[in-house]
């Protein structure tokens, strides 16, 4: 039994672990790829169109005889749909999360949470048509009789909001469930009811997780394509009210995708300039979310 403890070689272990590492590093290649893919055409684009004109111009008509490349109209439409989506998804999502985490019987939660998550499984094309036909056509115009056209940032944003509810609900429910039971018990032992415990102890304790959920919702809303392409309208104009139609950044990308532009042409590069702006917007939002989640992890 007195064999030595000397090291044995394990070439297979080494190789397999190397493969794992390469797989992990592959994800960086994707990001680098995205950056190159967006930057190269964008730089060509900005060689012809000054950055300032792109960022602050108020007329978006890249494919007309009298072309102009001010992205502000697309940005306003994106801002409207995003804000409306959040106005729907944040209260609904947080309400559902508080209910599931603090009030629902565990068996009820086991049924309700998955059903809620099914909302996230509905393909966005389907949501898109639902937004145009039912929400815009039937609800807003017929039932409510509102003065709005066939498309509106309201219908698109609203449906997008419903689509995001499970994302916000699920992540913030996780954050609330992660709050130690000891805090709930401590609160209950002081004579607080469940509403007080939820609002004054659990909610603040889970706050950074909840904010992260919301921020993630923001980036989903900014990046969602099919719903806005179908329901927000295709006209690039500065949107000043929720009942107006407008083309979002993703909406432009989708509609441009239906045509076919030659690699390297200005039209083609326009697509990537908007893509770059979209990418940077979500990137900023993501980093905020990640930073918040970091802090939240350190809390317990």
């Amino acid at each position: 039994m007195q064999s030595s403890l000397r090291t044995r070689r394990r070439p297979i272990d080494f190789t397999v672990r190397l493969i794992f590492r390469i797989a992990a590093i592959f994800t960086i290649i994707i990001t680098v790829g995205i950056l190159i893919a967006l930057l190269v055409p964008s730089l060509e684009f900005f060689a012809e169109v000054p950055v300032w004109e792109f960022l602050f111009g108020t007329r978006w008509a890249p494919r007309f005889a009298d072309a102009s490349f001010g992205v502000v109209p697309l940005v306003t439409a994106t801002a409207w749909t995003t804000v409306i989506a959040l106005a729907v998804a944040v209260p609904l999502g947080l309400g559902a999360a508080v209910f599931l985490s603090e009030f629902a019987h565990h068996r009820a939660r086991k049924v309700l949470k998955p059903i809620l998550e099914l909302l996230a499984g509905v393909p966005t094309v389907v949501y898109g048509y639902f937004a145009v036909q039912f929400v815009q056509g039937t609800v807003l115009r017929e039932w409510l009789g509102w003065d709005t056209g066939s498309f509106s940032v309201l219908a698109a944003g609203f449906v997008m909001g419903v689509m995001i509810v499970p994302t916000i609900a699920s992540i913030s429910e996780d954050a609330m469930s992660a709050v130690p039971n000891a805090l709930r018990q401590g609160s209950a032992a002081l004579g607080a009811n469940r509403m007080q415990t939820s609002l004054r102890v659990v909610f603040p304790a889970a706050l950074s997780g909840i904010i992260a959920a919301i921020v993630l919702g923001v980036s989903r809303a900014i990046g969602e394509t099919m719903i806005v392409a179908l329901a927000a309208g295709q006209q690039a104009r500065i949107v000043t009210g929720p009942l107006e139609a407008g083309q979002t950044m993703t909406g432009f990308i989708a509609s441009a995708a239906l045509g076919d532009s030659r690699v390297g042409s200005l039209e083609y590069n326009t697509l990537f300039a908007v893509g770059l702006l979209l990418f940077i917007s979500t990137l900023v939002v993501n980093f905020i979310a990640i930073a918040i989640v970091r802090r939240f992890r350190e809390a317990y």
């Binding site: 394990r10 272990d13 672990r17 794992f20 797989a23 992990a24 590093i25 592959f26 994800t27 960086i28 994707i30 893919a37 967006l38 190269v40 055409p41 609904l92 947080l94 559902a96 508080v98 209910f99 009030f103 998955p114 059903i115 809620l116 998550e117 099914l118 909302l119 499984g121 509905v122 393909p123 966005t124 094309v125 389907v126 949501y127 048509y129 036909q133 039912f134 419903v162 509810v165 609900a169 469940r194 509403m195 980036s219 989903r220 900014i222 990046g223 394509t225 392409a229 993703t250 989708a254 995708a257 239906l258 076919d260 990537f272 893509g275 979209l278 990418f279 979500t282 993501n286 990640i290």
Partner: protein
């Protein structure tokens, strides 16, 4: 000294009977609870309305022709066969391309990576970030890559699968990591304490124990890919074809794109077909979600 106006003192102890305010059934608490119910039920109600409206529009065309016929210029003869098969091809290819890489990357990050190593931290941050990048961006990446490598024919199964793979890779990595993390450290320690190598520990213990979680995450990721239309639109997925896709280089279309296509037609019959195809797609997606949830509830161990 704080003065408190509440009947105190031990001898004249007040009763513990229900108070009007503050209790579990106080008006505020009840209103709050009603609001919470509303939040949940509203979302569920919306789902029901959506399902009902689609079923009403399309149930009449969910028949055998939908599955056997090819698209046609007349809605009466048309079916979604190539789109259904195309979705299958693309998703299967996506799964084959993504799962090994995703699981391998997750194992590296969760089991082996030195968390202080700069590269690993970058990878970790990067994966979180990739997960929130809009799907159209992946379409644009693939488009640019094809341009770079001089591939002109974009309508090929592997091209669509490539875009969707990159789209769901972070989802799979994150789900796998979570599943691995849920396997208690004691299991790993138990294995290592018996003289197993870290790799043996992963393959014989951690990974099998994490399998339900990985399966759940992968199914959810793939179902997301199955419902995607935007990146494929960028990649020339919007085509009319009357043949079954038959290989990685084959032309294809998918259900979401077929739905998009038909809804854009003038004829009412195509709209009905689009709704019918939506029903099929929804049934598939909701079954995948249900399967994932089933696996999660049934097989995921509570340690």
């Amino acid at each position: 000294m704080a003065t408190v106006t509440r009947g105190m003192s031990s001898s004249t102890a007040p009763t513990v009977r229900g108070r009007a305010k503050g209790g579990e059934t106080s008006p505020r608490a009840l209103i709050f609870l009603v609001l919470l119910w509303f939040c949940l039920l509203f979302a569920l109600f919306f789902l029901v309305v959506l399902l009902v409206s689609i079923v009403v529009d399309g149930y009449a065309r969910v028949d055998s022709r939908l599955f056997t016929e090819y698209p046609s210029s007349s809605p009466e003869d048309a079916g979604a066969r190539p789109a259904i098969l195309g979705s299958l091809w693309v998703i299967a290819t996506t799964a084959v391309m993504t799962l090994p890489i995703g699981v391998a990357a997750a194992i590296h990050l969760e089991e082996f990576a030195n968390k202080h190593n700069l590269v690993n931290r970058a990878v970790e941050l990067n994966v979180q970030n990739l997960a929130a990048i809009p799907s159209v961006i992946y379409g644009m990446l693939t488009l640019a890559a094809l341009g770079f490598f001089g591939v002109v024919n974009k309508n090929q199964v592997w091209v669509g699968a490539l875009a969707l793979s990159m789209l769901i890779l972070p989802v799979i990595i994150i789900a796998t990591r979570e599943a691995l993390r849920a396997v208690p450290a004691e299991i790993r320690q138990g294995s290592l304490a018996l003289g197993a190598t870290p790799l043996q520990t992963v393959f014989r213990n951690t990974l099998p124990a994490a399998l339900p979680g990985i399966a759940t995450g992968s199914i959810l990721g793939l179902s997301r890919a199955l419902g995607e239309a935007a990146p494929l639109l960028l990649l020339g997925g919007l085509v009319f074809l009357r043949f079954d896709p038959n290989g990685l280089m084959s032309g294809y279309t998918t259900m979401p794109i077929q739905i998009f296509n038909w809804t854009g037609r003038p004829q009412e019959g195509f709209h009905e077909l689009a709704a019918a195809t939506s029903i099929v797609l929804l049934v598939v997606l909701l079954s995948m979600n249900a399967l994932a949830i089933f696996i999660r509830n049934r097989f995921q161990k509570r340690w």
